[in-house]
């Protein structure tokens, strides 16, 4: 990186209170406070948010797609975790 290059930040927006922040994209900024300013101009021009997070991209740890079958597939057969697994006899309510 040249000395004039600004690092990459990932931007998260809460679109209204009650909802969680969601990743919307990335941008470049020299520091976190500039990243928030730029996020405001880039991602909330049409009133898309009430709160912003900026995280420098290199600080995000991500799972490896090559590992995804080991990570996520074992959860697939635990169908008893879902309410639809269970039989509810007709006539029984509030269950």
């Amino acid at each position: 990186m040249k000395k004039e290059d600004w690092p990459l930040f990932e931007i998260f927006i809460r679109s209204r209170s009650g909802l969680s922040h969601r990743h919307v994209g990335s941008l470049h900024a020299a520091d976190a406070s500039m990243a928030l300013d730029h996020a405001r101009d880039l991602y909330t021009r049409r009133g898309e948010g009430v709160s912003l997070w900026a995280v420098e991209s290199r600080n995000i740890a991500a799972s490896d797609p090559a590992e995804s079958s080991a990570l996520f597939e074992p959860a697939e057969d635990k169908i008893y975790r879902h309410p639809t697994f269970y039989e509810v006899p007709e006539g029984v309510e509030n269950l």
Binding site: H28, A30, S33, D37, H38
Partner: protein, 252 residues
């Protein structure tokens, strides 16, 4: 002068300051130091054009000569423009634009604070809304003053030079004249003289934090409010007004 002519004059000053700054900031679009920063410049320009429309439409209504925002913006010559000299100064490099914005907006924030308590409810409403925009501009601009002042030797030199160059236009902001006195008397707006100490404090603190030296108050330029402008305004207007002048009475 009657109340009506005073109010018209007062609104033109507010509208012209916003219009000329909006026009200047619009020049940055597609030429900024980084794309993300261009987005910011464009937003600021949009805010100012919006403010100009609010103030000039109201001015036109007050005048009662059926002039709308566009007739006031595009069909007056520089002698009838009432903006201060500071806002018409060219963009220069990015640092000069930041310095100009910072000096002006530091004043504008306090002026708006007074205007939001105006007895004229329309002015109060506009000021309330505009205050929010300017609070954000200043936050952004002030941080740039710090970055450039306390950045590299080159940036420090450049922005110090810009503040030195532009300082002579700051005096005009705080001179109260007949129209200002009328506004104070009627509770329309604040006395600019009373804003200068807060301005000095606000600007001084930022400059110190940015390791910059506050220029001395020497000879101050002025006259914009009376239609005596720098040479720069004529070119700005020539650009801005070209279509309306070349095709009179056309609708766009």
């Amino acid at each position: 002068m009657t109340d009506k002519t005073h109010l018209f004059e007062y609104l033109l000053r507010l509208g012209d300051n916003a219009l000329v700054l909006g026009q200047r900031l619009g020049e940055w679009v597609a030429h900024g130091p980084e794309l993300e920063e261009e987005m910011a410049m464009a937003n600021f320009a949009l805010d100012y054009i919006g403010q100009a429309r609010l103030f000039l439409s109201y001015a036109g209504e007050v005048e009662g000569q059926r002039r709308d925002e566009d007739q006031l913006a595009f069909l007056r010559d520089s002698i009838d423009f009432k903006n201060v000299l500071l806002v018409e100064q060219p963009n220069g490099d990015f640092g000069q634009t930041i310095a100009r914005q910072f000096l002006y907006e530091s004043f504008y924030q306090f002026q708006l604070e007074g205007l939001s308590r105006s007895t004229d409810t329309r002015i109060a409403e506009i000021a309330e809304r505009v205050s929010k925009e300017i609070r954000y501009h200043l936050r952004h601009t002030r941080k740039w003053v710090l970055r450039l002042g306390d950045g590299t030797d080159e940036s420090h030199k450049r922005i110090q030079n810009s503040f030195d160059e532009l300082w002579r236009f700051s005096g005009e902001l705080f001179v109260a004249d007949e129209t200002d006195n009328w506004a104070v008397e009627h509770g329309i707006g604040p006395n600019p003289e009373t804003l200068s100490s807060r301005w000095n404090q606000f600007v001084g603190a930022a400059l110190t934090e940015a390791t910059l030296i506050q220029p001395d108050d020497g000879w101050m330029d002025g006259g914009g409010r009376y239609g005596r402008h720098s040479e720069h305004l004529g070119y700005l207007l020539a650009d801005m007004q070209f279509l309306q002048r070349a095709y009179p009475a056309a609708s766009w």
